[in-house]
């Protein structure tokens, strides 16, 4: 038994008392909400992937009809004869990014793991505000439905890019998209409420509901990163909402906040958007850093190298994220002095990023590394995040950015961070905590096939994009062959597209593994990874209320291979030897407690 405190037999607190609807649909249980988020956001991930495949079809095989007679199901306003039109291509680019950023990655990070891990890792029975939590989930599919609906309205879906730079996005005059842009705005305004209610919950829960002994520096890094992310969400999303509302006014009631014909300031939109947008970037990567820290420490059976500096680096990245937004706008028209200060703050971010990377390497050093699927994904995260981080240095240097800005170099950079980083981090997280969510292990063979093919085709697809950028290929262009100097890049583009198709296709293996293991996977037991965290002390899946008794935390989360111990792990709630007769600790309010009951 890994835990000194017996879990008791109180599994009876199951929720068969609640009806089907309260259990599975309008559930307030944080684990069920996490599962709901998981299913919906994976669905949105698939939608985003399909849109990406269509973008790559056009770039790989420009002017050719879509394969598998897909053209037959698309209306003539999108793809007559199956050939994608430029305006539909713009919608694809916009909606791909929107779905991936707002409906796939954000809910996968905060929605799924924030809900699943925070209460379990800090030893709470649920979130601070369970009903608000339920609301936070149910807003997401509503916003997603509005976003999807925009494909079906006259004029098509929004086509001004996910950044929706004004004034292109302020009026259908410029794009031919009227309703689609409005639905895009409305959907994201709605989604903002989901993020804020979620973040409110995470912050309050972490601050106020930690189990006895769970001091700040005993919190696992996954929860730390989710806690920092929640702060970023809480403070960044309202900025975006404010901006979206003003843009919506420009679209609908004819105000001129961002419209130059009424003396509005188009650049103000960019400042608002990126003031939100850069923290948003960290919202999408910080949780993955947390998952990877957990997985690497656990699978190499070693404490996280420099736990304190990992936490400090997280906080530092989150803080710096607020003062660097201008580096997205070096070429937008900016006072050159301002540009200089943004460059200085931006390069400083390399410091905490380097700390994290080297500390992961330090964690692997002299470890006992188990090559399970979660570790493979976690190590891929480190390998790919290094690429994304280093390519960021090019872009941080304002003069080099003059050339590389808005080229495929940016596309490569952001996909190395958001796919190589975030998505592989999410895969590490899902494969690692799957047994806790569903009580069964995922299939290792399928997992390794999925990882191998994904990792190889991912790099084949995205690494050459750096070269495209260096050759000057602009992003968001429908057909690069229109430019003579880009025509020699067509073979590279075709190769990239083929790699993307394999990368996208192999995700079916993951989907099969995900669904098959739910029913047929090997039973996992409470603690399949011999892990220290509190989440592994309760049954898999945890019952309603999680812990039979409130766990008491005696040590940090990464006491692996401690020299004083036979076992190579040391659960956080295992009482020290002198406590074997039971904790000497007594609750000063035992009497109050019983009065309450």
């Amino acid at each position: 038994m890994s835990s000194a405190i017996s879990m008791g037999d109180s599994h009876s607190e199951d929720h068969h008392h609640l009806g089907f609807i309260r259990t599975y649909i309008f559930s307030t249980d944080h684990k069920m909400i996490a599962k709901q988020f998981l299913v919906t956001s994976l669905l949105f991930l698939a939608i985003g992937g399909i849109l990406a495949a269509m973008i790559r079809w056009q770039l790989g095989f420009p002017g050719q009809p879509l394969p598998f007679n897909l053209g037959a199901i698309l209306p003539n306003t999108m793809a007559p004869g199956g050939i994608i039109l430029p305006e539909f291509y713009n919608s694809l680019v916009t909606m791909h990014a929107t779905f991936m950023v707002f409906f796939a990655l954000m809910p996968l990070m905060a929605g799924v793991f924030g809900n699943l891990l925070i209460p379990l890792q800090i030893g709470a029975d649920d979130m601070a505000f369970p009903r608000l939590n339920m609301l936070s989930f149910w807003i997401t599919p509503v916003a997603g439905a509005v976003m999807l609906a925009s494909f079906f309205v006259e004029g098509g879906a929004a086509g001004a890019g996910w950044t929706s730079y004004a004034p292109l996005s302020t009026s259908g005059e410029w794009t031919g998209v009227y309703m689609g842009q409005i639905l895009w705005l409305v959907s994201l305004i709605i989604l903002g409420f989901s993020s804020i209610t979620g973040a409110l919950n995470y912050v309050t829960t972490v601050i106020a509901m930690r189990a006895p002994g769970m001091t700040w520096f005993r919190i696992p890094l996954a929860t730390w990163s989710l806690f920092i992310t929640a702060w970023l969400l809480l403070l960044a999303i309202p900025i975006l909402t404010g901006g979206l509302i003003l843009l919506l006014f420009d679209q609908t009631i004819g105000t001129a906040f961002f419209r130059p014909e009424g003396s509005g300031e188009p650049l103000m939109w960019q400042h608002i958007f990126w003031f939100f947008g850069h923290p948003e970037v960290y919202i999408l990567i910080l949780p993955a850093m947390g998952f990877v820290s957990e997985v690497i420490a656990n699978r190499s059976r070693k404490p996280v190298f420099g736990y304190h500096s990992m936490v400090v680096a997280l906080v530092a990245i989150a803080f710096l994220g607020w003062i660097v937004w201008g580096h997205h706008m070096f070429q937008s028209g900016m006072n050159p002095f301002l540009g200089m200060s943004f460059m200085a703050t931006t390069v400083v971010i390399a410091v905490p990023s380097a700390i994290k990377t080297f500390n992961w390497l330090g964690t692997l050093w002299k470890g006992d590394i188990h090559f399970d699927t979660p570790l493979l994904h976690a190590v891929s995260f480190v390998a790919l995040f290094v690429v994304g981080g280093l390519s960021g240095i090019f872009l941080a240097s304002a003069p080099v950015d003059i050339y590389l800005h808005d080229t495929y170099f940016i596309v490569a950079h952001l996909h190395y961070v958001l796919v190589g980083g975030s998505l592989f981090g999410i895969f590490a997280g899902i494969t690692f905590w799957y047994p806790k969510i569903f009580g069964r292990m995922m299939n290792e063979t399928l997992g390794k096939i999925h990882w191998t093919v994904s990792f190889i085709t991912y790099n084949l697809a995205f690494f050459p994009m750096h070269n495209l950028g260096v050759q000057g290929m602009m992003r968001r262009i429908y057909d690069p062959n229109q430019y003579e100097f880009l025509q020699s890049l067509q073979s590279t583009n075709t190769f990239i597209s083929k790699s993307v198709f394999v990368f996208a296709g192999i995700q079916i293996i993951f989907a099969i593994n995900f669904l098959w293991s739910m029913k047929k996977g090997k039973k996992s037991g409470d603690n399949p990874w011999d892990s220290n965290g509190l989440e592994w002390t309760c049954p898999s899946p945890p019952p309603h209320g999680n812990f039979a008794e409130v766990p008491i935390v005696y040590r940090g989360p990464y006491e692996y291979s401690h020299p004083d111990r036979e076992q190579d792990f040391w659960p956080q709630d295992e009482a020290p030897v002198d406590d074997l007769d039971g904790p000497e600790y007594t609750d000063p309010n035992e009497s109050t407690e019983s009065n309450d009951e």
């Binding site: 029975d125 649920d126 601070a128 505000f129 369970p130 804020i196 973040a199 409110l200 919950n201 912050v203 309050t204 601050i207 106020a208 509901m209 930690r210 006895p212 002994g213 769970m214 001091t215 700040w216 809480l234 403070l235 960044a236 309202p238 900025i239 909402t241 404010g242 901006g243 509302i245 003003l246 006014f249 009631i253 004819g254 105000t255 001129a256 906040f257 419209r259 014909e261 009424g262 003396s263 509005g264 300031e265 103000m268 400042h271 608002i272 209320g545 812990f547 008794e549 409130v550 008491i552 005696y554 600790y585 007594t586 609750d587 000063p588 309010n589 109050t592 407690e593 309450d596 009951e597």
Partner: protein, 226 residues
């Protein structure tokens, strides 16, 4: 050490009481690592930070636009009725005072006082919104409108109208929501659901109300007076 946890709610309350003598626990085994406030209050504080950022985006836009295009903004009093709004501001500040009174009453266990002061707050809050609507109608008739093509006031430009309505409108919406929430709390107060020991709801709505009041003082200063 049998510390059964039946539900979040009772547990939260238990923790709150614990905090008063948190010093007993050793550092390693701090029972309560929280901030010394109950969850709903903490949640409201955190939510208000989020609200601060929302108003920051609106006020920030206003400052940027006004700085870039001073010709669009009329001098104080040229279009907006400062006296009327000053009176309205006073009304809102009074409602904050009455909110404090309501909270003080229930801390003493004075349920009647709570009901009385809550009602006063509701009436003043609703009047504030009413005066704002009256002001909007008057301004609209003068051609002070947000739209680029609709703006027809004798001074300033469309950016003035747009920023004015965006900021005061969203503040008005917050006051209206606050009044609705206060009515909900008032009904609970009439049913006697708040006691000396348990009046979290009053405290939480009070926080929100003071925040909305504070935002208005800022808005009044920068929109009407400067």
């Amino acid at each position: 050490m049998t510390w059964m946890v039946p539900s979040t709610q009772t547990r939260t309350k238990a923790r709150r009481v614990t905090m008063s003598d948190a010093g007993i626990a050793t550092i390693d085994r701090t029972l309560e690592p929280g901030m010394g406030v109950f969850n709903k209050k903490l949640g409201m504080w955190v939510f208000l930070l989020s609200e601060v950022m929302f108003f920051t985006s609106l006020i920030g836009s206003y400052i940027i636009l006004r700085y870039a295009h001073p010709d669009h903004f009329a001098p104080p009093g040229a279009i907006l009725n400062v006296n009327l709004t000053a009176a309205n501001t006073f009304l809102l500040i009074c409602s904050s005072v009455s909110m404090v009174k309501a909270f003080a009453a229930i801390q003493q266990g004075d349920v009647k006082g709570l009901q009385y002061w809550l009602l006063a707050t509701i009436v003043m809050g609703a009047s504030f919104v009413g005066v704002q609507v009256y002001e909007y109608i008057g301004l609209g008739q003068e051609g002070f409108l947000p739209g680029l093509d609709d703006y027809a006031a004798h001074a300033g430009g469309p950016l003035y109208g747009a920023t004015f309505y965006a900021m005061t409108g969203f503040h008005g919406a917050h006051v209206s929501l606050g009044v609705l929430a206060l009515i909900f709390v008032y009904i609970r107060a009439l049913r006697g659901e708040y006691t000396v020991a348990d009046h979290e709801g009053v405290e939480v709505i009070g926080l929100y109300w003071h925040f909305v009041d504070l935002v208005w003082i800022i808005l009044f200063t920068i929109v009407y007076l400067i």
